[in-house]
């Protein structure tokens, strides 16, 4: 399979810096050069090492809450968090020392003192960053025991048809809350309460379906544990491989990873490097892909002579010839202007272009339109006002950093 893609992307921990200036520093004895503004955490990955982390992920701004990514910097007091500390020229950084190991184990011991010990039967088994970190730091004992105050009895919210929220597994890393803000921009999630009682809350501590959530799945995507989990994965288990594809829903062209188990899709996750979506998706592409294997899905071309006739499966050649001859017949009977074409808003720009070419060159008229002119009129208006054209042909990157030419 050509499109096979690693199940798990490299997570650099913090977003890429776009600075053209670079700085050179030393991490664990290796010299590394990174753009100015790069976090120590990201610089470490560039240098070839991984600093333990839980609240950081490279699609979100650094937050500095989990305290696993602490490092030592020569000449500086204490243990700064590598996610929120920018790399500076000449820094000498150590990511692994006996003191850091002890610290990280201490933090993990606290996490696990308020986390169920059901890894083997957990839906995230094999894809859980908390589990990974427990392994990485060498946690062997939780001396606090499990009798203390905890959230293990918190009830799961299954109201959303696509994912569950299980607060008993939540480590309050705030990734979901930040994804809802930074990635999706809906601000449907917050933390309610504070301190030990801090809990992820959809709107006013409501079931997700009663909240402002639009089910885009950005929160589920960044959750490091089984707290926010696709129902399909809970049912089917973890995928074994991943295939790169483009979402078929609309003309935006979002890049997706189809996480597969054999030939079955287990989940669709937005591809980080998708030029039109950069790791984000909407509810349709992310969750509403049941059509892929639906029994009503049409897999072969079909024709019928009359609306009252039953459909007949035919070859592509027959189908195309039939359509062409019918167009010709109608034009001969009713005139050149009697036919035309409307493209769907799901069509890509290229597809729309081809249809208008067909209409103008083969139909020899101007009867062409796209339904996007109606249903996407707000989008078109916005683009027109902002960029002078309503055609959304740009990648995100080109909008972030426009060049005049």
């Amino acid at each position: 399979m050509d499109n096979n893609y690693p199940l798990h992307d490299i997570d650099y921990g913090t977003p890429k810096s776009v600075s053209e200036k670079t700085v050179t520093l030393e991490i664990d004895g290796f010299e590394v050069t990174v753009p100015q503004g790069t976090s120590l955490m990201r610089a470490a990955v560039v240098a070839g090492t991984q600093i333990p982390k839980l609240c950081a992920t490279d699609s979100l701004e650094p937050f500095g809450s989990c305290r696993l990514c602490l490092v030592e910097i020569e000449g500086r007091k204490g243990f700064p968090a590598s996610c929120t500390t920018p790399a500076e020229a000449g820094m000498v950084v150590r990511t692994q020392t006996p003191h850091l190991a002890e610290l990280r184990r201490g933090v993990m011991e606290l996490y696990i003192s308020d986390h169920p010990l059901d890894c083997l039967t957990c839906a995230a088994n094999g894809d859980c960053e908390l589990q990974d970190m427990a392994g990485v730091v060498g946690l062997r004992d939780v001396r606090y025991g499990y009798q203390g105050l905890n959230h293990l009895k918190d009830q799961a919210d299954t109201s959303n048809p696509y994912f569950t929220y299980d607060p008993s597994k939540c480590i309050v890393c705030n990734r979901c809350v930040r994804a809802c803000e930074e990635t999706q921009g809906t601000f449907a999630l917050t933390i309610s309460g504070r301190g030990f009682e801090s809990r992820v809350s959809a709107s006013e501590s409501q079931p997700f379906m009663d909240s402002e959530c639009v089910s885009c799945g950005a929160c589920v995507n960044v959750c490091p544990t089984a707290t926010l989990m696709e129902k399909t994965v809970i049912e089917a288990g973890q995928p074994d491989h991943s295939v790169l594809t483009t979402c078929a829903y609309c003309g935006v062209g979002c890049g997706f990873k189809a996480d597969m188990k054999g030939s079955e899709v287990v989940r669709m996750t937005p591809w980080k490097d998708g030029k039109a979506n950069e790791g984000h998706a909407c509810i349709k592409g992310r969750f509403a892909w049941g059509y892929a294997t639906h029994k009503d899905r049409i897999l072969k071309p079909m024709i019928r002579k009359h609306i009252t006739d039953p459909w007949q499966e035919v070859s592509w050649e027959t189908a195309i010839n039939h359509a062409a001859s019918e167009f010709r017949r109608i034009q001969a009977e009713s005139g050149v202007d009697s036919i035309g074409g409307i493209t769907s808003s799901r069509c890509t720009n290229e597809e729309s272009y081809l249809v208008q070419k067909l209409v103008r060159a083969a139909f020899r008229n101007n009867n062409v339109d796209t339904c996007a002119r109606v249903c996407h009129s707000p989008t078109g208006y916005g683009l027109g006002q902002t960029y002078g054209t309503s055609a959304g042909t740009q990648t995100f990157k080109s909008v972030e950093k426009p060049t005049s030419s």
């Binding site: 999630l189 917050t190 309460g193 809350s201 709107s203 501590s205």
Partner: protein, 158 residues
Amino acid sequence: MNSMTAREAQAVEAALSRFQDEQGALLPLLHAVQDTLGYIPKQATPTIASAFNLSRAEVHGVITYYHHFRQTEPAQHKLALCQAEACQARGCRSLTEKAEAALGCNLGEHTKDNRWELEPVYCLGLCASGPAMELDGKLYARVTPERLESLIRKKELS
């Protein structure tokens, strides 16, 4: 969803007209509502959110973060006893026990008839003259058990 009572709606409206256009003024707004009603109605969250161009989640997050804000109606009388170190050194622990016995409810709770609530407070800035407390908005310092009992009795009679 239940809607606000006329009184609640009026209080929220009045507070919004004062603070809606001030930058970052969610806290002053919430204070204004609570100062008027004694609490911030749960049903006010959507109204406040839309006036401040915030999500309901954001407003909810703020209200639940700050211990001063409450979403339920307060008891008739509120007794807040300082529990912090300087008052501990001056006997606030035994004073608290006295208050619990006198009112018949524990610290952090309210009486069954909701006439009284007994709240902890962490420093009123009267640390040289503890134990200190706040009773229905008025500060008292050097509070002896006898004084506490007579103050409670006076409120009971009023």
